[in-house]
């Protein structure tokens, strides 16, 4: 920032956020230590993982699960736990897949 007014004088009072949808810019995926890896040969596209994901990170295109938004997935593992086909695996971030 090049403004000469101190940052604390410019930002909204009390942390009020007046631009909706801005949480998308917070890359919570940086918190993740394990990533969900989907075995698409087993997936039935039942969408239970999509319903359960607390970060709306399950990506869907035309009624089909297509992948995970790793910029926002925190790696909580709820999808893997809820998958009725057990076809989502939580893989440590330090291991190649």
């Amino acid at each position: 920032m090049t403004s000469r007014i101190a940052e604390w004088k410019r930002i909204s009072a009390g942390g009020l956020v007046s631009n909706p949808g801005s949480s998308e810019r917070v890359q919570t995926g940086a918190w993740r230590t394990r990533r969900p890896v989907i075995d698409f040969s087993q997936c039935t596209h039942c969408m239970i993982c999509w319903v359960m994901c607390p970060d709306t990170s399950m990506q869907v295109y035309k009624d089909r699960l297509t992948g995970v938004d790793l910029a926002h997935c925190k790696g909580c593992g709820i999808c893997a736990s809820e998958c009725p086909k057990h076809c989502i695996q939580m893989v440590p971030e330090d291991r190649r897949v």
Binding site: E7, W8, K9, I11, A13, G14, G15, L16, S18, P20
Partner: protein, 414 residues
């Protein structure tokens, strides 16, 4: 005088009190102010000695005299949480509590100030447990003094009423937007029946004005989020903003007191001084003991001691410069605390005065006194003892040892 010689009451030359004079206690005085303010939301949980306010307000509510949403919550934590939600939605929100109730609100105190919500709390100051004690002292107020609230301390039912109105104006001022607490001494003010001159409803409405919130959860054309995550990015900056807002509250409070004097004829100042101009000894006090301190000052003056008193009305933000101006040149200062700063280098009010006077080139001799814990009665005799100790300090030119706990049962050695 024998009863037969007494004139009949009809003949007594009594000046009729004005129609707006009520004989009510401090709690009812605050409830009356709340009825006139008619806030959008009142959320409270009953606790002694605050109960008087909430019982009376519930009566106004039941009689349809207020349009308020009166939320009877399950705890004080919930009471302040409801106020936070209501204030974030743009409503005028008020609560009242005391001692342990305030302790249960603690988490939400910082939420309210951090979110810059102009909630008003009427705090009927009470001792903290344990041992269980429902009576008055300032332990609760001192525990909240660094949570970012504006804090005003009154000393009578009249001031409890007046400050209930003034607090609303300070909190909602656009330069402040901070929660504000009206401190009312438990029992000695909340339960004391005195004459209280109330203002007309229309005068109150004009003084507190219509509350115009900024962006709120109900802003139709601008969606907003309150209380969002704010980690390393700008939490620090938001705290810095709170400091600036509190600094502005000194001036805003002074303005509110000026405007209040114009509408009510009652002149209050951020600090109330008494016979301080030529004093060699100053006593600093907060709350309802002020009247007794003034009487003790008068007694000491009759004995030839140059004593004066300073009462702190605006406790947070602490009007440091004004306090220094008022006490400058006074060689001996005694500070009366109605709370203990356990483990601290000084009791709370004493510490504030010590820091304030440390910046002065001519440093006074300071002495700390604790009084009135858990409702212990402070007699004129112990106040006179305190003044004597201060006079001894002045005489010998250094701080003397002596009784620091006024009215403590010392007992006798066997």
């Amino acid at each position: 005088m024998a009863p037969s010689k007494m004139p009949s009451t009809v003949d007594l030359p009594i000046e009729a009190p004005p129609a707006n004079a009520l004989a009510i206690n401090g709690g009812e005085a605050v409830a009356y102010a709340l009825k006139q303010i008619d806030p959008e939301v009142v959320a409270a949980y009953p606790i002694t000695p605050q109960t008087l306010i909430i019982e009376k307000f519930a009566e106004y509510f039941a009689n349809g005299e207020v349009r308020t949403e009166f939320v009877t919550v399950e705890s004080e934590h919930a009471a302040l949480s409801v106020c936070v939600g209501a204030a974030a939605a743009g409503g005028r929100a008020v609560t009242a509590t005391a001692g342990p109730g305030l302790a249960l609100m603690f988490e939400m105190l910082g939420v309210a100030s951090g979110m810059r919500l102009p909630i008003v709390m009427h705090l009927c100051t009470r001792a903290l447990s344990s041992p269980i004690n429902i009576l008055g002292d300032h332990s609760d107020a001192m525990a909240m003094r660094e949570t970012g609230w504006v804090m005003l301390a009154g000393s009578s039912p009249q001031e409890a009423y007046d400050q209930a109105l003034i607090a609303q104006v300070i909190a909602e001022h656009p330069d402040v937007l901070l929660p504000t607490a009206n401190l009312i001494d438990g029992f000695s003010v909340t339960h004391a029946v005195e004459r209280v001159n109330v203002l007309d409803d229309s005068t109150v409405r004009e003084f507190v004005g219509e509350y115009e919130p900024g962006l709120s959860l109900l802003s139709a054309d601008q969606a907003v989020t309150f209380g969002a995550m704010d980690a390393r990015d700008s939490y620090f900056e938001h705290k810095r903003q709170q400091v600036a807002a509190l600094e502005r509250a000194v001036h805003v409070t002074a303005e509110a007191l000026d405007r209040f004097a114009q509408v009510s004829g009652r002149r209050y100042r951020l600090l109330e001084t008494y016979r301080l101009e030529d004093a060699a000894i100053a006593i600093v006090v907060m709350g309802s003991l002020e009247g007794q301190v003034r009487a003790a000052v008068d007694t000491a003056r009759e004995r030839g001691l140059r004593v004066g008193a300073l009462r702190i009305r605006l406790f947070r933000p602490f009007p440091t410069r004004l306090v220094a101006n008022a006490l400058r040149g006074t060689p001996v200062i005694g500070v009366l605390d109605r709370a203990i700063g356990f483990g601290s280098p000084g009791n709370p009010l004493y510490s504030d005065i010590a820091v304030t006077m440390f910046r002065e080139p001519d440093k006074p001799m300071l002495k700390s006194f604790v009084y009135g814990l858990g409702g212990r009665v402070t007699t004129q005799r112990v106040l006179e003892q305190a003044i004597q100790e201060l006079a001894d300090t002045l005489h010998v030119g250094r701080i003397t040892d002596g009784q620091t706990y006024l009215g403590l049962h010392e007992g006798t050695a066997k």
